[in-house]
Symmetry: C3
Subunit: 502 residues, 3 copies
Amino acid sequence: MPKFLHLSLIILGLLCSFTATGVRADGTVSEETAECLECHSSLHPGIVKDWQNSRHAAITPGDALKVKGNARKISSPTVPENLRGKAVGCAECHTLRPGEHADTFEHNGYDIHVVVSPPDCATCHREETTQYADNLMSRAYGNLADNPVYRKLQVSIIGQTTRKQGQIQYAPANRLTKADACYYCHGTKLEVTGTEVRDTESAGELEFPIISGWPNQGVGRINLDGSRGSCTACHTRHAFSIEMARSPYTCKECHVGPDVPAFRVYEASKHGNIFSTFNKNWNLTSVPWTVGKDFSAPTCAACHISLLVDTEDEVIVKRSHRMNDRLPWRIYGLIYAHPHPQSPDTTTIRNSDKLPLPTDFKGGFASEHLIKADEMKTRAGTMQKLCLGCHSQSWVRGHWEQFENTIKETNAETLTATRIIQDVWKHGFAAGLDREANPFDEAIEKKWHLTWLFYANSIRFSSAMAGGGDYGVFAGGRYQMSLSIAEMQDWYNLRQAVEKRK
Amino acid sequence: MPKFLHLSLIILGLLCSFTATGVRADGTVSEETAECLECHSSLHPGIVKDWQNSRHAAITPGDALKVKGNARKISSPTVPENLRGKAVGCAECHTLRPGEHADTFEHNGYDIHVVVSPPDCATCHREETTQYADNLMSRAYGNLADNPVYRKLQVSIIGQTTRKQGQIQYAPANRLTKADACYYCHGTKLEVTGTEVRDTESAGELEFPIISGWPNQGVGRINLDGSRGSCTACHTRHAFSIEMARSPYTCKECHVGPDVPAFRVYEASKHGNIFSTFNKNWNLTSVPWTVGKDFSAPTCAACHISLLVDTEDEVIVKRSHRMNDRLPWRIYGLIYAHPHPQSPDTTTIRNSDKLPLPTDFKGGFASEHLIKADEMKTRAGTMQKLCLGCHSQSWVRGHWEQFENTIKETNAETLTATRIIQDVWKHGFAAGLDREANPFDEAIEKKWHLTWLFYANSIRFSSAMAGGGDYGVFAGGRYQMSLSIAEMQDWYNLRQAVEKRK
Amino acid sequence: MPKFLHLSLIILGLLCSFTATGVRADGTVSEETAECLECHSSLHPGIVKDWQNSRHAAITPGDALKVKGNARKISSPTVPENLRGKAVGCAECHTLRPGEHADTFEHNGYDIHVVVSPPDCATCHREETTQYADNLMSRAYGNLADNPVYRKLQVSIIGQTTRKQGQIQYAPANRLTKADACYYCHGTKLEVTGTEVRDTESAGELEFPIISGWPNQGVGRINLDGSRGSCTACHTRHAFSIEMARSPYTCKECHVGPDVPAFRVYEASKHGNIFSTFNKNWNLTSVPWTVGKDFSAPTCAACHISLLVDTEDEVIVKRSHRMNDRLPWRIYGLIYAHPHPQSPDTTTIRNSDKLPLPTDFKGGFASEHLIKADEMKTRAGTMQKLCLGCHSQSWVRGHWEQFENTIKETNAETLTATRIIQDVWKHGFAAGLDREANPFDEAIEKKWHLTWLFYANSIRFSSAMAGGGDYGVFAGGRYQMSLSIAEMQDWYNLRQAVEKRK
């Protein structure tokens, strides 16, 4: 057959496969997926186009398994026979493990489930799923919902307010507010609450499950098969693009506020500056990811997750979806910065006051629940190895010295603020834990948590990423920290002056 | 004539037309415009280059009229004969309707006006101009300047302060401050206040009008022909680029502060994340705009304005420059979120307290001035149809349920804050409307409007766009709302304690 | 020799020169640099790749000197003979002037210094270095560290807090905190504090200097040859890219906080909007930089630094690294906005109260230390000439009128706030300069500096760049200014009420 004819046939085949009205089962798309596309490509052109442009549509697991070495994207040693020869389409994911999913329903002859879960993805991506299950994020739902101290903080922020005897009272937020607030990022608990019949344009009356907590893509979502997490939090459906997961914008969705201003610090840092100027020329899709060649400054993923190699293809750091693998310190203060917890489930931690917190109010660590010095050294070493890809030894050491000093100093500032609030509680100007009251809900208590939840955290993120002095000082950092401490003391003094004259 | 010669002549013609020193009247550029360019292309190379790269320079209205169907960009049924055959250049716009513009002046033999207005643009774009005139934004000047309640809020923010008897007094801001502040976005009222003679480099002494309120491109600008609005607010002169109007950055200019943080929420949302990562590959200029093919996540324009089609060229939503056509709720609280006003002129609204506000202080709606349930349903349906382009029915319904719950809950929080300020007024700790005083200008009153103007609004924008839990909770949303309510109560309690001892 | 063979040899040569394991000394790379690369290209692939992609690697000073006119990038009239024929590589910069650098150390037979300083860069870029030395930024270290008033402000922000007799006490921040905070941008004072021996992978035990204050790229860094400044603050090593220096992200690193929100205002402005939408199509590397052709809206560099020409190659403004050359006003209030200082060293300024401040507390200027009216007019004229590249005369004048009104009005607001704090001091509610106390460290004093350091500055930046009404009003500008003034008065009133009852 002449070459050009061959080529024409391929093009013709492609045209047939991807018409607007659906996809024929020729080629790599399965018959089942082709049937899905028949209706859904006109119902949801956005979803279908994203998938058509994705790697999942372009390659079969069988071919993906043939890739050897660092370029391999499938981490499972093998993939079930029946899935190997077809592209990863609608049916391939949404009909997996039907017996496990509470939202499985009969749909035009297929057992479909709405919410694809990490164990579904593990069919091909087992290693990432396993690592992620051991990642703090996978427990984001329970670590918040099942910790009585954090629940008190939660209600003081999102609770419904009323006034009673000159005080603000907080009733628990309703299900929808929770889903729209904290659990948007932490993940909701999905539940099938019933079914409904909808009159569809293309197929008449059909029955669908009603899912409470849906939609949600929070990192610790409790799925309908009982599993935890949502891969689509970062690998946005239905493109599942590695370029997107490696871009800092993905992390921004949940790391943008003053409590975890990772993205804001990054974009104000030299790294962010280089990214913003040059990322248009970078290769954000190549696996493995080559320092210097594919990109000239790290994104969030580069430092925290990705497999990086040097220009001689030597591995600098291995890929890890246990995202604290390179982090000795947890700079998110609760209430002080501390060594990372050993277990992703932090509800079992107890500090010296028997509270489920990694530090006590004096700044002591709940050490038996936290990683030890040698593990901290290992993790710091991994991160520093990565820094050395673009920086000299003395640069890295100097930076690290500043960073650890900042941890120490911001913890000291948190201690100053905490001593004021303890005096406030002692004098009865607010009701804290000693009176079995919520220690977070009165005005002066809220000013107290501003100091550690917002300002100490912001300073530490800024220091960790060399995020620019201006950010860490003026944009919600040291300036605001010192202001809040002064205002706490001022309020305390004024309150004392008023009380004395009673 | 051989083809290559023909091509060469075209190129030669183009080169002649667009030399640095001006544009010859050959081809499609009119003699009048060529004369403008003679001087202005070296005086303002930036303006001229923008225009040269624009669609206005590349196509004549006559040719644009030949386009049929959804791709057509001219909405007027016809265009005056004399304008059909030439590109839309300097003279074509700046000499239209000379008798109507107060700033028309004689300039090298032409009657030129400085400020091109929507009725000028209506020559070709009648439908957009008509829709826009019915758009809330077109009344942004009067809706602020002619509402006595909003004027009180305005003076409390931008008024000149002095101290008198232990209180801050606010004098009205001067003309220039107003133009630099509120009316930068709302639009200034332009007025010709005189003329001046300038000694120009290229043509000696020339007379020009002096225009008070200029420069300005606010959305509700009062023009020198008495019309309202400024098309260049979004369609930036002199490129008038559809790509720019469809980019979210355009909306950011006036929707970035905590009162209307639409852009900030967008860029922290999944939609914004997809835009930031992939818009380099999108087609932001094609008309109509195809979901999935041209773009894979909406920008502001996609949801609120643009004509969208699916991959089969079926219209999903029609274009509308009446930008609330797809919005049942006005989530910008005044002081509560409420159904959209019926008329773009909101000065005629009266609430149950006879105040020109869409809601009363107890949260009741000024219903007879607001759209009814059926119109709300129609508008919600239009928006949801658009969502379905990329989301399933259950996804859209779940999202909408969360959004409407947020409206209800944030209105309830505003009520808590309002009850505190009403107690403050009742006890005479601040002077409100009951004492015929400005209800917005004292410290505690300002803390009150923070709760609804900044925080309730931010929470609602975040909820509307699924803007990420972190944004809506910590970046100026629920956290700050609950803090401010607690601080209001705390101030009230302290003030009472002090008073009791008088 | 046949052409294709010739080409193959060139390609082969390139491949040999830039292998992953190093660079051969063939071609333009010097033997010394090739030797550096032998180890460092695998040690730090990121550094080496950046350099390999840079102009420094692609052209020799000898060739660069041959460029005539506005396109020339080397400003020194000549370059030492021995440097002319080779690319500007590792050795070329890091071995310059070895006797001058305190960090020079013996390294594999070479005298290497770690920190390359402006006098090193002056070898080729003399004019920029000379201009920069006269730039306010080059004195950023001393202007902060050696001014006793600013040091008081500094300690009140970054000092270590303790509580003593009901007051917050501030101990000076330690060396590392300073480097991580104010001096990250202002620049640290580098000092060699010793040496250390490190066991290196490639060359066994080697001795290196230990440098206190390192890493740092602050604009006023005190270098180890005694010089001031860091070219890499903007021309990021080791790409030294003009594209990056011209992008607004570079300036953002130190101009992002509410004290100098230049970047935030820019990105919310029409200019920023155009940049964000279209910069993908711009030429950010061409020298000279042509308005309209290379870019259609200014970046920071365009207005403040770059050599701009019009489309006829006529110079609009000359390049200047004395960045206040186009600035009549210093809108960064200390404590009021004022004409720019005459000398880059601001420690010698004395106001009417003998304090080292450019304005006194009543708003009077320390005029003998500031530029005079004619110099202000010259600088305004330079900037306005630039504006005219894209705007008409009446547009520019109208904008300028608004801007100067904003300076006047914000200074008046600062005066209101200052009068309150003076009353506070007078009544002994806080201890100011009159009691030889820190005037910046108590809660009410901090609220006072919020008004001028954050809000008045933000309003002025917004006005200067036409940064959108929403930004200047609501995002940390006029709204917050009026709120803070009202809160200062409220605190003062409450404090008086409490005192009266003592």
